[in-house]
Subunit: 342 residues, 3 copies
């Protein structure tokens, strides 16, 4: 039979079930596209109005929406609906998504000196080099390249087409998306007579447990010591992390961020989309940087920081931007007037 | 015989031919590097001066340049030279570029439950998973990975090394360049006790007809519903499109743009290079965003918008940027002076 | 025996050796993680304090630190320690890093019409198309795709998973990192009736000698003529270079930079991280652009330029950014006051 009974879901994941425990849930979905066999959630009272219009069979809500939700159909009441739904989504996937085939695909090129756990899965056309170790229940998608001496922890999953360089390491329960390049050379050169002399990069990349790394993201290997990504860090797509960067535990980094070499980011930080952080800086724990902001100096005080130019209609922007190029002299003119009038 | 006679070109593509119809054109080229066997175009009167210096055998021009162009050699006169040249370039490629070999390369890994049209081409070392469907005359380049249940429309071409995820769909006549990752997980987490709990992503990516997607661009799958890219959308390289974004028809997105999750962009918009758009916004049709601009609020009025910091010599920038951090207090001081003097 | 005697290093690479020539060096490392068998360098007097705390066996220093360094252990004294260390790093790698296996891996797909030098190495699952030429001692990593007619110069190394398009060329001693896409189509369309008509791209990419190209970086092929990257250019990760861009010799481009089509960058320039350069511009030689700066106009004067919004605490930023949207009218109010008071 397709799906799961509401009663089973609530007994496994908790929450107070208000409504018919035998109702069959066939998918998790959004309020807009829900059917009577769909389970949804409302994370925020802002979406309260959708309670009236959705066709969802059951909605996960906070206690404040209990009566309103139960009046229209089944509901699961829990103090943190988003968290509940996150756990439910994992529970659901574990029971419904096809497991990749165990073992090493016949088309993969696995060096005899590599160790692949018997419970791991290595996809078609992968290349696993000498001395690499793939942990228990790890899943390596099609077309991945795992360099010599690299280690992949238990239950870690690589999507198709990840390049994971020699002597790079990732812990347990990690997720790495397609196109990510872990362990390319850092950008290191000594200037000489107008040219750039390459400094070879000897470090690796060391990634903790429960780390997720987005598609086409790059994390460079260290110059001498390792680049370090602590436990629980989440990194979105198209992110660039330079050599010898250190990212503290549970920091989240949104898409298109760039972090230059040798910078240390604290734990529990958030970097919004397209943030740029210069090299050799230190950001304290619990620092939150707004979108499109450039960080050019170290930040020792936790808090929210921002530095993006405000958008405007083109004509207004032109006038304001042109004036901005004379702001300092405007300040001086203001001072002169103040002096005169005092 | 190499190339095509001018007369054949004009008879197939239209325009008024002024000059020798038997002249043989061997390549399309730029005014600077043209030879007497090269056909060029002038899109803009700004380039008029090059009429005097180019060695081109024939030039596609607008009526305003007809006499000047014809005086120096052959010309094709058409109201829209750029459009004419675009169509000519496609006509030329269809007649001169080697077609990839029909059928499935012997080194490709195609699941028996996948359907590949007999007129399609699947390159070396591709992986095509169960239930995927490849349409008529579609070309899948070397090293592509097509996920389970994905569909590729007729005449769509993938360059080498595209990752196209499970349950993602693209229509007819699309082009996807190398390194693109379509259908990686969106960046979705519920915060809990200082850590991030993954929300599994159940949606797909649904892409219309005549869409071009650049190299190393990412389009994430939706969280619950699909991410949507409408017909005729053109996306450049290194672009990041988050989960559940919707892009309206014929919108063009330049390189290095990032669009955060659940944002809706209208039809016929243009986003210039390195634009960043925050999540959960709505941009109307015919909105045009200038380069390096951050869009933090919805835009309901069509028009041109901009928000980039003006570049300056370093010393000037430093003074102005430092003053900018006190702009609000400068405004207050100005107000105080105004009050005093009134 | 592991490593090299200090005396051998100094006799091969020069510098004045102060200390025990028989001391065995087993690795190059950082001052922080050094052991008595580690050789380090100090590039800058700022790091002088670490002379007291490091356990390094030998330190490469400038003459100014000679006595201080020699007092604590062995030292190599040279006017340019960073340059010395760069050369030493190359010397070290040449003697210690495993050379890839000579010849073509049995799983690679090499067209019979391609030419691979007998001293070159082609990794597992590569695809080399018709007419491509791979030079002496070149190394092509696993999963690379080399297009028809492309040429790879002597001693050039491609990491795993490089896509190098048809009719693209790179000279000698180049390095290209994983995920780079060289030779995707430029972003060229003619607008017509609200839609975009593709302009086929006929040019290639021509890259000089001693060029390094970062992971997941894209360099598009030219529309009609070639995109040009001169000798000695160094390009970091996640960089986007549009069609027909020309980069002058020994210019260095940091991560996340985007350069729009048909722009010419001079020689010996530096573009810091996340710089954006608009299309059809010309930058003179020796122009240096600071991080996150947008270049919207040509620059004819060598020097340092900058244009990033200064970061601030969120509340301050909000007030200043809101005021910035009225800067032009503030200027007018200031003028009015000046007139009144004069």
């Amino acid at each position: 039979m397709k799906g799961f009974a509401l009663g089973e879901i609530a007994s496994q994941l908790g929450g107070e079930l208000a409504g018919d425990a035998t109702l069959r849930i066939e998918r998790l979905g959004s309020l807009e596209s829900a059917t009577p066999a769909t389970l949804c959630f409302i994370a925020d009272e802002r979406y309260r109005a959708q309670l009236k219009t959705t066709r969802a069979g059951c909605i996960v809500v906070a206690p404040v929406l209990r009566d309103e939700a139960a009046a229209r159909g089944a509901a699961i009441v829990t103090p943190a609906p988003h968290l509940y739904f996150a756990r439910l989504s994992q529970w659901w996937v574990a029971r419904t998504r096809a497991r990749p085939q165990l073992g090493i695909h016949s088309s993969a090129q696995v060096h005899p000196g590599a160790e692949v756990d018997a419970s791991a899965s290595v996809g078609p056309l992968c290349v696993i080099e000498e001395g690499a170790r793939i942990g228990a229940r790890a899943v390596i998608g099609a077309h991945c390249v795992i360099g010599a001496g690299a280690t992949i922890g238990a239950d870690t999953r690589f999507a198709a087409r990840v390049a994971f360089g020699a002597d790079c390491h990732i812990g347990a329960r990690g997720i790495v998306h397609g196109g990510a390049v872990i362990g390319a050379d850092g950008f290191g050169f000594a200037p000489h007579d107008g040219a750039w002399i390459k400094v070879e990069q000897f470090g690796g990349v060391r990634i903790g447990d429960d780390v997720e790394i987005g598609a086409n993201t790059c994390i460079d290997r260290g110059a001498l010591d390792d680049t370090l990504i602590a436990d629980g860090v989440k990194i979105d797509n198209q992110v660039q992390i330079g050599h010898n960067v250190r990212i503290g535990a549970h920091t989240a980094i949104a898409g298109c961020v760039g972090i230059a070499g040798s910078t240390t980011i604290g734990a529990h930080c958030t970097l919004a989309g397209a943030v740029g952080v210069a090299g050799h800086l230190t950001l304290a724990d619990h620092v939150h940087i707004g979108p499109l902001t450039g960080v050019m100096q170290s930040i020792s005080k936790p808090g929210a920081y921002m530095g993006a130019f405000p958008i405007d209609e083109n004509a207004n922007w032109e006038k304001n931007a042109a004036t901005l190029r004379h702001l300092y002299s405007l300040r001086n003119r203001l001072r002169a007037l103040e002096k005169k009038s005092s």
